[in-house]
């Protein structure tokens, strides 16, 4: 099981730094959207094609795409970017987001049939960076991890929440 999203550094810089990682965040969203639209998720040829299409699209309209990503889920850009930090971790198979006012809860499902300390360290690094960014924008972020496949969205009752990442 893998994600369509790329494998960029998990310590992506902030939106204000508008560098490569910003483009990666945008590209990941474009790829996910195209994956759904084309129904080619999980297919190697499709993934390669989508990467090419996505890269071209990002070159044309990066900023507008991230804005659209935030609008699609009704997310503030700070929260959308935090979600993308987690989506860039290959072991993250599903991310559900609950939100009320200026508080967001990330339900992060991670492939971890047995405990993986190195992965946990990577998750905590991303979490701390994301919480600090959210805090600066006046949001609070509560991140909850679940070891997949032992625990699934249905087993914790969050399957009806909006899904950020698309597992393939």
């Amino acid at each position: 099981m893998a994600l369509l999203s790329g494998s960029a550094s998990v310590l992506a810089p902030t939106l204000s730094e508008t560098g490569d990682c910003f483009q990666i965040a945008v590209r990941n969203w474009v790829l996910r959207l195209l994956g759904v639209l084309l129904g080619r998720v999980g297919n190697d040829y499709g993934g390669s094609l989508l990467h090419t299409l996505g890269a071209e699209y990002v070159k044309l309209s990066g900023q507008r795409v991230l804005e659209a990503m935030a609008q699609e889920m009704g997310l503030p850009s700070t929260i959308a970017l935090a979600a993308d930090r987690f989506a860039q971790i290959p072991e993250v198979v599903d991310l559900r987001i609950g939100r009320a006012n200026r508080e967001a809860v990330f339900h992060v499902f991670v492939i971890m049939p047995t405990y993986n300390d190195e992965l946990m360290d990577r998750l905590i690094d991303v979490e701390i960076a994301a919480e600090q960014e959210a805090e600066k924008s006046g949001y609070s972020l509560d991140v909850r991890y679940y070891p997949y496949p032992i625990i699934t969205p249905a087993s914790v009752g969050v399957e009806s929440l909006p899904q950020y990442t698309k597992a393939i």
Binding site: D125, I128, E131, I150
Partner: protein
């Protein structure tokens, strides 16, 4: 909420209990992690007792509040240790309560070496709390 000395005493008690749960046969890893986290909570509350915040009483989300204060007052290593134990204690409890394979998962999911390593994170927060409060180790 009790003052610094009482938080410190509770933290030291929890720390000892965490290590004794680890050294039991068989080791009780899930609760060792959880008790180690609650030792950290009291070390941090001890630090807060000397700060303007004073304590986490009356906070809508005390855990979120303490995570934020850990980032504010502890080093990156201390804040990361605190956040990691918080998440692990919650994760281990999810394995207990939410999983259909709970009995196996809570005992076998994490190996002994990783349990020892992570319970040992309490020392990072204890040392920093001692430096910040002047409480002896």
């Amino acid at each position: 909420m009790p003052p610094l000395a009482m938080h410190w005493a509770q933290a030291e008690h929890n720390r000892k209990v965490a290590y004794s749960l680890l050294s039991a046969t068989p080791s009780v890893k899930d609760w060792a992690i959880t008790v180690a986290f609650y030792a950290m909570v009291h070390y941090l509350e001890g630090v807060l007792a000397l700060k303007p915040e004073k304590h986490s009483d009356n906070q809508k989300s005390p855990h979120e509040f303490r995570l934020q204060k850990a980032r504010k007052y502890l080093s990156h290593s201390g804040a990361k240790s605190y956040a990691k134990l918080y998440q692990l204690s919650r994760l281990m409890r999810y394995l207990c309560y939410r999983s259909q394979v709970a009995a196996r998962a809570s005992g076998d999911w994490m190996n002994d070496a990783d349990a020892q390593k992570n319970v040992g994170k309490v020392e990072v927060v204890r040392l920093e709390a001692s430096q910040l409060t002047g409480m002896p180790l």
